[in-house]
């Protein structure tokens, strides 16, 4: 069922008569629909409403619902509308910008499997971890603390500094901060790293043991794996776990 020329004319007339207030008429309607999508997601929309919203792009002011419904009736299903040739879409009155958008969406749908996968860095053992973090050794300050967030296959999700002021509460603050970031990254495991530029700083080692134990206790509650705390200096590195074992 194609739109007759009469109907097309009727649309043209309505476009000129569109109200200029932004809170009423089609533009208020568009704003309300967008707001609903932001609040509730798009899954509750009917197929014609998705099309109606996709058509906003090519139809500046006029109500796009009749065209969306006509397209669904004409082509029979949502996927048929998207896959229809540009020529057939134009014939029922779909404007050029919308024809392009629908075509782009189909290309995106079909390229899902061909798309470049972002490669993840696999931190499969301690040597890999040490090699990876050593790259930073020249660019950080004494005492710099970093966290590596890993997924269930020990691939790196994110690598972040912990920048907190040094006061008496900073230990608990650091632990809280690291736990929050782990959840936000949806990571399965963490490794913490202290950079020390001096050969060996005994004080740092002692306070870091307390930190490592604190992190391990907090992580346990959230079922987050803690692989250990690494102290890295120019002279080499050492690692300890929450049970206070040097390795």
């Amino acid at each position: 069922m194609a739109l007759s020329s009469n109907q097309t004319k009727k649309h043209a007339k309505r476009e000129r008569a569109a109200p200029i207030f932004s809170t009423t008429g089609p533009s208020g309607h568009r704003q309300r629909m967008r707001q609903k999508v932001l609040e509730n997601g798009p899954s509750w929309l009917a197929d014609y409403e998705i099309l109606e919203m996709l058509l906003f792009a090519g139809v500046p002011r006029r109500d796009t619902k009749p065209l969306a419904k006509a397209a669904l009736t004409h082509f029979g299903s949502f996927s048929n509308v998207l896959e229809a040739s540009p020529e057939l879409l134009r014939q029922i009155g779909v404007p050029e910008a919308s024809v392009r958008l629908l075509g782009t969406i189909v290309t995106i749908a079909q390229s899902v499997q061909r798309e470049a996968k972002p490669q993840k860095l696999a931190l499969k053992d301690w040597d890999t971890v040490v090699h990876y973090v050593s790259l930073r050794l020249d660019s950080v300050e004494e005492g710099h603390l970093r966290v590596l967030f890993l997924d269930s296959q020990n691939c790196l999700i994110a690598d972040e500094p912990v920048n907190l002021s040094k006061n008496k509460d900073s230990l608990q603050e650091s632990i809280t901060h690291i736990m929050r970031r782990t959840l936000m990254h949806q990571a399965c495991a963490v490794v913490t790293i202290r950079f020390t530029l001096h050969e060996e700083s005994k004080n740092l080692l002692e306070s870091d043991k307390v930190l490592a134990i604190g992190i391990a206790e907090a992580a346990h509650v959230l079922a987050i794996e803690v692989y250990g705390h690494l102290v890295l200096g120019r002279g080499g590195w050492c690692r300890f776990t929450h049970d206070d074992k040097n390795t």
């Binding site: 949502f78 995106i108 470049a116 972002p118 490669q119 993840k120 997924d151």
Partner: protein, 213 residues
């Protein structure tokens, strides 16, 4: 920052995203291009970005409402496009379509989901449902409830699906054990488990094809 290996596919994704954004920023095409470059550099791929559009991630939160809504609509359209095609033919006859659909709905999720494709006696899709929302490395499966739901829907068989947020679709020992339990539960009420598909990022594994059923 994601490491990009396939630069050709990456620039194609950029062009596609820019084209989508031009639809909502028709009067400022350089801006559409700029946002596209920025969003892809931050997320690494179009699929990651579209998945992120449904979550309150930093990259997406910074965008204007009109851009966010458009990303949500594109994601939803891509999923409906594939789901729509899934209903049109016997599901088991065209597995590429099943893979394309599953990739679009759960290939890039950050937590595990269990999804069941319920089939009728002619292997047509009756219903597609998420039956379990899990966490970063596991998701709940209750064989009794899956089988109950299949009976409720009048299904004669099902395809079990879940995703691995790590991206690697190889089954764990727990996956294999769980599959056996579901198959056993289905068998005692006369239902068939046609497959258990594990969805990774850009790749998928069919336990049937691997001979693990």
């Amino acid at each position: 920052m994601p490491i990009i290996e396939n630069h050709e596919a990456f620039s194609q994704s950029k062009a596609l995203l820019a084209s989508v954004l031009e639809a909502v920023l028709p009067s400022d095409l350089p801006q559409a291009q700029k946002i596209a470059d920025h969003l892809l550099a931050e997320t690494g791929s179009l699929s990651t970005l579209l998945t992120a559009s449904g979550q309150e991630t930093d990259a997406v939160k910074r965008q204007s409402e009109i851009v966010r809504v458009m990303l949500l609509l594109v994601r939803e359209s891509v999923q409906r496009f594939h789901r729509d095609k899934l209903y049109k033919q016997p599901l088991l006859a065209k597995y590429e379509q099943v893979f394309a659909y599953l990739q679009s709905v759960m290939g890039y999720e950050k937590t595990e989901q269990v999804r069941v494709l319920f089939l009728d006696e002619n292997h047509y899709l009756l219903r597609d449902e998420i039956t379990g929302q899990g966490t970063v490395d596991q998701a709940p499966v209750y064989p009794r409830e899956l089988v109950y739901r299949a009976l409720q829907l009048g299904a004669s068989g099902l395809v079990l699906v879940h995703n691995h947020p790590s991206g690697n679709p190889n089954p764990s020992q727990a996956d294999i054990v769980m599959t056996k339990k579901v198959i056993a539960a289905a068998r005692v009420v006369g239902l068939t488990v046609w497959d258990h598909v594990i969805v990774g990022t850009g790749q998928m594994m069919s336990m049937k094809e691997e001979g693990l059923l």
